[in-house]
Symmetry: C2
Subunit: 319 residues, 2 copies
């Protein structure tokens, strides 16, 4: 059986009508994709990230059409790090197991397609009061919530998030549930406005002095100069969370990390249950971040839209 | 009253016979220096670090010759971060107070001199069973012990220290008191031998594969390529301690910190009491690291000797 999918062959992404429907391995379920989200990682994959080849996409909500009886017909999201049941015993969590596959990123087809397979243990049911548009944010919101697992945040901690893109905004929203004093630093008035209406303070990057006064700083800029600005904003003995990967092409001075005894925390995938609970409780409602949506047949246009600086979140409607 | 001292004027270090004996401020004591140690920071100061001007040196043991009666005549070492008693209230520990001075590094004369002043609250008495040569190591050994305050280390944790210089060796010794599995990675057979005789495993830097399997990795290389090698050695979810400042002149890829969710801990000055206790108990005896010593009158030769790759610890005998 074939299906429609956005396929990356190592050179370019194309819409294919004849992709094979994914095989369902032991312990897995087959999901009919309803809605998917485009992430910066997808755009990196187009540039060669992880050397990925296959069906793209890892943020989605779908419906179980094949799998255990108690899951059939349920609306679900799926954690993206997958282990086969016959993998060697784990001495690291699944998200860090060297033998893992990652949906749409490492060795496993993704969700910009009519169907996607995922381990049953990775599934999370979506409550009725979380619609598809909100559920499409569970994966990136979980990544934002990872910060809350890694760093203890008090309500009076001064928190600054650098980067007003998709991930920066979600980090700001997740952190705002813990701290009264969250500042989002960015370059786009329209994006900062989305933070402001949620009680998050905002500032333009060029207006922020290197004042070293924030207890917790999150770098979600994905840029070396953003990392440098974030490093300059963290107070001595404070914490700098790296949410986006940084590869500086020019030199980088890490001496302030030592002099100020800063703790840097690398942060990646996070807890789906906590993100889902935030959405279900209405603590975070990210749906106004959606600025464009395309049907799967126009999935390539969705990728283009996500790459443009004008859009925040772009969805691909499948089901 | 004048004294002999090694003075750095911003261009070069000279031996001066006519330096003024330091003024003793409120809450301070005057110490007659007995023995001092040369540190990498001293060599950095010769290159302009911190824009320091004044008497150099911050590692020393001395005798109290002016100050409170209960301190007079005692053999002491002194913490290097100093606050004046009329400083504004601290919301950061003294070591990070922006108004601090630092002996021989920031705004305060150092110990490559016949006399040095220090706040009484910074003094630590040296027990009789810790001789001057051992006591001269309290400051750098305390910096190594700072790691033990910042990172929880279990006896079965796999620990790797990159850098077989003075600081790397002391870090290895301090960590060896906590973990059975400490590896020192360096480039000098004679220095690695000093670690080996203490039950520390050793390896040449070129023989270490980027295997990402150490729970805790310490970078004490002071070099960008050493930092990169240390980053490659830490396991996912592990800890990378930065003991030496790194300013890369070429690009640097921090993406592995995010992908592997590594925690990076900047680490600087440490607890004198813990270091002194280690020396007094004989848990650490660093005296065989001393490879050269010069009287103060030949202090410039001591600086040259410390800059040479052949020496490990160089002392300046004063008293």
């Amino acid at each position: 059986m074939s299906m429609k999918a956005i396929f990356f062959d190592g050179n370019e992404a194309t819409l294919r009508e004849d992709c094979p429907r994914p095989a369902v391995g032991p312990g897995e379920a087959l999901l009919k994709v309803r809605t998917a989200g485009v992430c910066r990682t997808d755009l990196e994959i187009l540039k060669g990230y992880m050397g990925f080849r296959g069906v793209m996409g890892h943020e989605f909500v779908g419906e179980v059409v094949e799998g255990p009886a108690d899951w059939l017909g349920r609306r679900v999201v799926a954690e993206i790090n997958c282990l086969s049941p016959d993998a060697t015993p784990r001495d690291l969590p699944k998200n860090h197991d060297p033998n893992r596959t990652v949906i749409g990123i490492v060795g496993r087809d993704g969700c910009f397609a009519e169907y996607v397979a995922a381990p049953v243990e990775n599934l999370h049911a979506v409550p009725d009061n979380v619609d598809d548009d909100a559920a499409a944010f569970v994966e990136p919101l979980a990544a934002a919530c990872r910060i809350l697992e890694q760093v203890s945040i008090a309500s009076d901690d001064r928190v600054a998030v650098f980067g007003d893109g998709r991930l920066g905004l979600l980090c700001g929203m997740a952190l705002r549930t813990c701290s009264e004093h969250v500042l989002l630093v960015g370059r786009h008035a329209s994006k900062l406005a989305l933070a402001e209406k949620r009680g998050i303070m905002t500032a333009f990057a060029e207006d922020i002095a290197a004042a070293a006064r924030y207890d917790i700083v999150v770098d979600a800029t994905g840029k070396a100069d953003g990392f440098a600005a974030a490093m300059a904003a963290v107070r001595p003995l404070g914490t700098l969370v790296l949410k986006s990967t940084v590869a500086a092409e020019t030199g980088m001075n890490l001496a302030p990390l030592v002099v100020n005894e800063v703790t840097v925390v690398g942060s990646r995938c996070g807890p789906f249950d906590r993100a889902m609970a935030m959405l279900a409780a209405g603590e975070v409602d990210p749906r106004d971040l959606i600025t464009a949506r395309h049907p799967l047949a126009e999935g390539l246009a969705a990728l283009d839209a996500a790459a443009s600086g004008d859009n925040i979140k772009v969805l691909i409607d499948v089901g």
